[in-house]
């Protein structure tokens, strides 16, 4: 599964990076975010385009696992 790292990127880059990655990897991706704003924005976007999202937290960062 492809992983993209959005840590340290300001709005709206985490969602843009997610969108771009999904264009190439339609089955799903893992997205690493480092703040609640990006977590919320990416999660909302993933759900709006029809993915299920599972979130793992580890040490201040979150991994959003998007699956069809």
């Amino acid at each position: 599964m492809k992983t993209i790292d959005t840590c340290g990127m300001s709005c709206p880059q985490p969602v843009l990076m997610t969108k771009k990655a999904l264009d190439e990897e339609k089955d799903g991706i893992d997205v690493i975010v480092d703040n609640n704003t990006a977590k919320g924005n990416v999660q909302r976007y993933l759900k709006s385009v029809g993915y299920s999202v599972e979130i793992e937290e580890n040490d201040g960062t979150f991994v959003l696992k998007a699956r069809k």
Partner: protein, 354 residues
């Protein structure tokens, strides 16, 4: 819908407090204006000497500290920075120039519309046009690179500066300037302004209110979350003004506004484009700075310096209209925005995802 209740309430509180702050003494259609209030602070510190716009606005202090306090309580305070700080500083100066050509930040633009000022609708069209241009470059890979974790002190400094502002406001030493007439002398009582700022700062931190993000996310991702906040400010302020008899529709003789449509359009186009590149509107920059984002603290400082430049160089508009210097500066600012947009996009190299 449940997840959107918070942002709608936040927008509503901003609209309500904005109307009430005017009732308590703030200038008309200026319950909140991040650009105007930072400009007043620049004047109070003597960075510019426009005598009618000098005051340490407690709303600004409240916004930053409200965000800081809630972010600290929720363990969301995160000291970080280093994402193209000088570029952000320059972008913020440009956003301030655009705002003072129009006479208001995006938040005041909404409040002006809610007060019946049709000039602000022209501003809104410019604002949305500017956002479209910014989005064009976002889609071409525009970004300002990553920020990195910094020591906590770095993140504490901007909130600490605002505590210093509060001390200066209360002690009022002779070297701080306070307007005796004009908009800078129209002020709600300190504690009311501070409390309004604290509450809105905390809510905006929790629910991420951003006036530029509303239009941006709707266009880019068909995501209406932030737009609901934007519309909620407008709706509540409009109703509030109607109830208090402060809704005066028209173009002419609007408070602290001019009727030059072209420059209202171009000023807000600068604000929209610049804010998209910054990743958020001036309000959002203050909130993020409160959360420890030092890139946003740099933006806030850039806005203050931009305001000083506006008044020292005669760029700022007034009710009489736009100045020649202001018009020239708008042209220069568009060229700088174009250069920054181009240089940080993928036209030169494949750098978007690095």
């Amino acid at each position: 819908m449940k997840e959107k209740t918070g942002i709608i309430i936040t927008g509503g509180v901003v609209g309500l407090f904005a109307v009430l702050l005017v009732r308590f003494g703030n200038p008309a259609n200026m319950g909140f204006c991040i650009a105007c209030f930072l400009r007043d602070i620049a004047g109070a510190l003597g960075l510019h000497r426009a005598e009618v716009v000098q005051y340490i606005r407690p709303e600004i202090i409240g916004l930053v500290l409200g965000s800081f306090i809630l972010a600290s309580m929720n363990k969301e305070f995160n000291s970080q920075g280093g994402s193209s700080p000088v570029t952000r500083f320059v972008l913020s100066i440009i956003v301030m120039i655009g705002a003072l050509i129009f006479l208001g930040c995006p938040l005041r633009m909404v409040l002006r519309i809610a007060g019946g000022d049709f000039n602000a609708i022209i501003g809104l069209i410019g604002f949305v046009s500017g956002i479209y241009v910014g989005i064009f470059f976002l889609n071409k890979g525009f970004n300002l690179k990553r920020s990195y974790k910094l020591t906590n002190l770095e993140g504490y400094l901007f909130p600490a500066i605002n505590v210093g502002f509060l001390a200066l406001l209360i002690v009022a030493p002779a070297f701080v300037f306070f307007s005796k007439s004009g908009p800078g002398a129209a002020t709600a009582p300190i504690w009311i302004s501070l409390a309004a700022g604290l509450i809105v700062g905390a809510l905006a931190q929790k629910y991420r209110l951003c006036t530029v993000g509303g239009t941006r996310d709707l266009i880019l991702f068909r995501d209406n979350y932030l737009m609901l906040g934007f519309l909620s400010i407008l709706a509540v302020a409009l109703v509030g003004n109607l109830i208090l008899g402060k809704f005066n529709p028209g173009f002419a003789e609007q408070p602290i506004a001019h009727t030059d449509g072209l420059w209202n359009f171009l000023g807000m186009a600068l604000v929209g484009w610049g804010s998209v590149l910054l990743g958020g509107c001036p309000l959002r920059q203050l909130i993020l700075a409160g959360e420890g984002n030092t890139d946003s603290a740099i933006s806030a400082l850039g806005l203050i310096v931009g305001a000083a430049i506006c008044h020292n160089f005669g760029l700022a508009s007034s009710a009489k209209g736009v100045t020649l210097n202001g018009q020239i500066s708008v042209g220069i600012c568009f060229l700088i925005l174009l250069a920054i947009s181009y240089a940080n996009s993928e036209f030169l190299s494949k750098n978007a995802q690095s």
